[in-house]
């Protein structure tokens, strides 16, 4: 207990000494001044201000943000200045005698008109930025983004490349069983890859509830709305990894659906794309292959960890969804099991329809895994072709 208090106290001290530096940080507006290099580093670690980002638009927004910020600060300084002046000089205790004046049309007019002019001055750059942001024409690459509870799906239109992107932080990290990694909660199994200096258009929609696709460094935030398509665009200028998060409450795991964008040189991008296509090719070939029980089980476990734990628990013990241990589906007729996985549960919108979210190999593996894990010991297994047959016969 004492230790905790001590830690808290030292932390507080640290924090307040940092807070003292705030004015300095803000004055420099995040600009590098030789003297306050250290302060700027601090600012970055503490994440005090909006990121400038890596696109022309994001910088424009940053400038706009700083502009309004400073205007507000100055208005505040003047208004609160006068107020504190009166509070100090016109106290009863220093013998102030109240004046009698209580209205003045001229003054009222002045302080109606002056703020209005200031607002107009703010509105001009804001309008021009907005018009730029809305110009989604003439894109080089179209990427369709679909928000699902709770993962993102990317599809490179016209390229036959598409995949899901899941949180890759482990449950153990989240529950504090192991130390948290550097990119805790901001890491995914498959990032979105884009080339730099190309105009990328994002076509954003959702499959279930509202989500919002947001990457601060690109200054792109657009709601993903089921049944409608929103568009947004970006031209990234620097290669790098940019991280963001879902920015619209979308249910239980809203805090756990990050976005990672990998921006790379055109050539690297082309290589990556080619690799992806090849992967898809191999996958297609594998669809007709037969897998061993061990292969299926191992693969299924991975699929399970990525897609199912959020609702059915690490050990199938259930949570938002029912327990899968010894349940009527996981230990019942295998066709029902396939049906649940391919078509979802009728009348229940929570359990996703995995038929076109997972490929046939993954479906076969995860079913096999569930039927043999956690003491379910059914001993049976599925091959990708079985799923294919099932889908065909529907």
């Amino acid at each position: 207990m004492r230790l905790i208090t001590k830690q808290l106290a030292s932390k507080l001290l640290l924090v307040f000494s940092r807070l003292m530096m705030l004015p300095v940080l803000l004055m420099t507006g995040g600009q590098v001044l030789a003297a306050s290099d250290a302060a700027v580093d601090e600012a970055q670690r503490w994440g005090l201000n909006m990121t400038e980002g890596v696109t022309a638009v994001s910088r424009e927004i940053y400038d706009l943000h700083m502009l309004i910020f400073w205007i507000c600060v100055w208005i505040g300084v003047v208004v609160f200045g006068i107020m504190f002046y009166s509070m100090i000089m016109h106290r009863k205790s220093v013998g102030a005698v109240p004046a009698k004046f209580h209205e003045s049309t001229a003054v009222e007019l002045a302080w109606t008109i002056v703020p209005a002019i200031i607002l107009v001055l703010m509105a001009i750059p804001a309008t021009s930025s907005l018009i730029k942001i809305y110009d989604t024409t003439e894109a080089d690459i179209d990427i369709k983004i679909v928000g699902h509870q709770w993962k993102w799906q990317y599809e490179y239109l016209g390229q036959d490349v598409g995949f899901f992107s899941n949180l890759s932080t482990s449950q153990d990290e989240i529950y504090g069983l192991v130390p948290k990694g550097e990119h805790y909660l901001l890491e995914v199994d498959e990032p979105l890859v884009i080339p730099i200096n190309k105009k990328i258009r994002f076509l954003i929609t959702a499959n279930d509830v509202l989500h919002a696709w947001w990457v601060p460094a690109l200054a792109v935030k657009r709601d993903a709305i089921p049944g409608y398509i929103n568009d947004a665009w970006t031209i990234v200028e620097e290669p790098g990894t940019y991280r963001g998060q879902c920015a619209e409450l979308c249910g239980k795991e809203h805090g756990f659906m990050p976005i990672v964008v990998e921006a790379m040189e055109e050539q690297d991008y082309q290589n990556w794309l080619a690799g992806k296509k090849q992967e898809a090719e191999e996958l297609r070939a594998a669809m007709s292959q037969t897998f061993s029980m061990d292969e299926l089980y191992a693969r299924g476990e991975k699929v399970y960890q990525a897609n199912c734990v959020a609702c059915h628990g690490v050990n199938g013990e259930g949570g938002l969804g029912p327990s899968l241990v010894g349940s009527g589906i996981t230990t019942g007729p295998i066709d029902n099991h396939i049906n649940v996985m391919v078509n979802g549960v009728a009348g229940n919108v929570v359990m996703p329809v995995f038929g076109n979210q997972l490929n046939n190999i993954d479906l076969a593996s995860v079913i096999t895994f569930k039927r043999n894990a956690w003491g379910n010991n059914m001993g049976d297994q599925l091959q990708p072709v079985d799923i294919l047959t099932f889908k065909k016969n529907q």
Binding site: L8, K11, R45, W46, G47, L48, N49, M50, E60, I61, L64, H65, C72, I75, G76, V79, F80, I82, M83, S86, M87, H90, R91, K92, A96, V97, P98, A99, H102, E103, V107, W111, T112, A116, M122, A123, A126, L130, I133, Y134, I174, K180, E182, L185, D208, V209, P216, A219, D223, I225, P226, G227, Q245, A247, E248, L249, G251, G255, F256, V349
Partner: protein
């Protein structure tokens, strides 16, 4: 006439009362209870956010806490508190014997505890309580909602009925019950702001009722208001909701403006500067509040014309609000000021509300809002306008009028201590939220990335300090009611208003014959 009756005895007094003072008292106590309840929910949120990682609650429960915190504070704490003040003060300020429709007044109040009992009980239902935020966006609140959403909908319905009846009563009282000679432009600003607030309430509560009715139909009767598959649109929900929701936030601040306009002149010993312009500014804010709703929806992908329109209209609100702030400052200017507790709260109100207003203005800049939206920057904005805005004004009002209500003076030392604790606690809680918000922390998340850890820790500690000081407030109020120095009839030095012409504590029935108005 029941002029000289005292209050009835026992619990029946409260159940059956038609007296505006009794009803005002009940509103205020109810509101404080909801403030503590909503505050406890907030403390659960802050405790979970003390560190990264999931420690105390599961994400699904966290979402219920966020939702219930917002609902309890908005509909349970702030609105009933203002209604309580209106009940106590408006008849006394306009020289009326009571509210215009006393029995309906009682009905408006008693619906509330029932509505909130229903709402709070959902937390214990199968599938949990509402978990979709106080803005309950469809389809998370329809197709994907827990079954308890049905009770949530009906709770909102009857709460709305209560608000509408309360507002009708206030309008009828103000328009019809003023003592002869109390012309509109002689009314205290608190009465004016409430008149306009009541109008806003009657205009938007039915729209909220329509909104939840559409949800109800989508959930239970297969309609497709909010489903694209049937030809509807989830964004339609947001338009309907915010048509209510934005005026709602001004409902939570206009009476606060009225309170500040009563307190500041008293302690500056100088008449309010620009009374008429205050009235016009309030009316302009109310008018503008109807045409800015979509500034909550800048990222939903509205056509650009809409985006621009709502951006400009929103920015305009800074003008009349500025007029108010400038008028308050001019009232203090060359006054003869003292700083009793109500004045401290009122001054903090002006400063901190303005800061919240400034961040509001930043949010109104649509392109910048693409970076701010749904981050803690928004959370910082609205807590600055709501906590030191609405809540501080209510506390200022309680300190200011409590001696009139109960006849005893509160302890000035304790009052000041409460102020400073709250002031510090509040800023430590909510100021860092600006930073984490700008740095990219989304709102409504139970767990966050490591770079947000330090500021969240500070905010959580501040929250507990602030929460503790409100328990202290409760103590001060109870202490004052139970005893203390007797208050004079005027209580303060030369305050303006009819309520100071009657004895302290105010008799059970006041102004059964209208007072003369100078």
């Amino acid at each position: 006439m029941g002029d000289h009756h005292g209050p009835a005895k026992g619990f029946g007094r409260w159940l059956f009362t038609t007296n505006h003072k009794d009803i005002g008292t009940m509103y205020l106590w109810f509101s404080f209870a909801m403030f503590l309840l909503g505050g406890v929910f907030a403390l659960v949120i802050r405790a979970e956010l003390f560190q990264p990682g999931l420690q105390l609650v599961r994400p699904e429960f966290f979402n219920q806490m966020t939702t219930m915190h917002g609902l309890a504070m908005v509909f349970g704490a702030v609105m009933p508190a203002f209604l309580g003040l209106a009940n106590w003060l408006i008849p006394m300020m306009v020289g009326a014997p009571d509210m215009a429709l006393p029995r309906m007044n009682n009905w408006s109040f008693w619906i509330l505890p029932f509505a909130f009992a229903l709402l709070a009980s959902t937390l214990f239902m199968e599938g949990g309580g509402p978990n979709f935020g106080w803005t309950f966006y469809a389809p998370l609140s329809t197709t994907y909602a827990p079954p308890s959403v049905t009770y949530f909908i009906f709770a909102i319905h009857i709460m709305g009925a209560s608000s509408i009846m309360g507002s009708i009563n206030i309008i009828a009282t103000i328009l019809n019950m003023r003592a002869p000679g109390m012309t509109l432009m002689k009314m205290p600003l608190f009465v004016w702001t409430w008149l306009i607030t009541a109008y806003l309430l009657i205009a938007v509560m039915p729209v909220l009722a329509g909104c939840v009715t559409m949800m109800l139909m989508d959930i239970h009767f297969g309609t497709s208001f909010f489903s694209a598959a049937g030809g509807g649109d989830p964004i339609l929900f947001q338009h309907v909701f915010w048509f209510f929701g934005h005026p709602e936030v001004y409902i939570m601040i206009l009476p606060a403006f009225g309170i500040a306009s009563a307190i500041i002149p008293t302690f500056a010993r100088k008449p309010l500067f620009g009374y008429a312009s205050m009235v016009y500014a309030t009316a302009s804010i109310a008018f503008l509040s109807f045409i800015v709703w979509a500034h909550h929806m800048f990222t939903v992908g509205m056509p650009i014309a809409g985006e621009l329109f709502f951006m400009y209209a929103t920015m305009l609100i800074a003008v009349p609000t500025g007029v108010k702030v400038f008028n308050w400052v001019s009232t203090m200017f060359r006054g003869s000021m003292t700083f009793e507790t109500p004045m401290l709260f009122a001054i903090a109100f002006v400063i901190l509300f303005s800061i919240g207003g400034f961040s509001g203005l930043m949010l109104a800049i649509a392109p910048a809002d693409f970076q701010y939206h749904d981050t803690y920057f928004v959370v910082a904005h609205f807590h600055y306008v709501l906590v030191p805005g609405a809540i501080f004004s209510i506390m200022a009002a309680v300190y200011y009028w409590l001696p009139k209500w109960c006849g005893n003076m509160y302890d000035e030392r304790l009052g000041k201590a409460h102020f400073w604790l709250s002031f510090i606690g509040l800023n430590v809680t909510f100021f860092p939220m600006h930073f984490v918000g700008l740095a990219g922390m989304p709102r409504r998340i139970p767990d966050y990335a490591l770079q947000f850890a330090d500021f969240n820790q500070i905010a959580s500690m501040g929250a507990f300090l602030f929460g503790f000081s409100q328990v202290f407030f409760l103590f001060i109020v109870i202490k004052t009611i139970r005893g203390g120095a007797k208050a004079t009839d005027e209580v303060w030095e030369n305050p303006e208003g009819l309520e100071w012409t009657i004895p302290s504590p105010a008799p059970y029935h006041t102004f059964t014959t209208p007072p003369p108005i100078k």
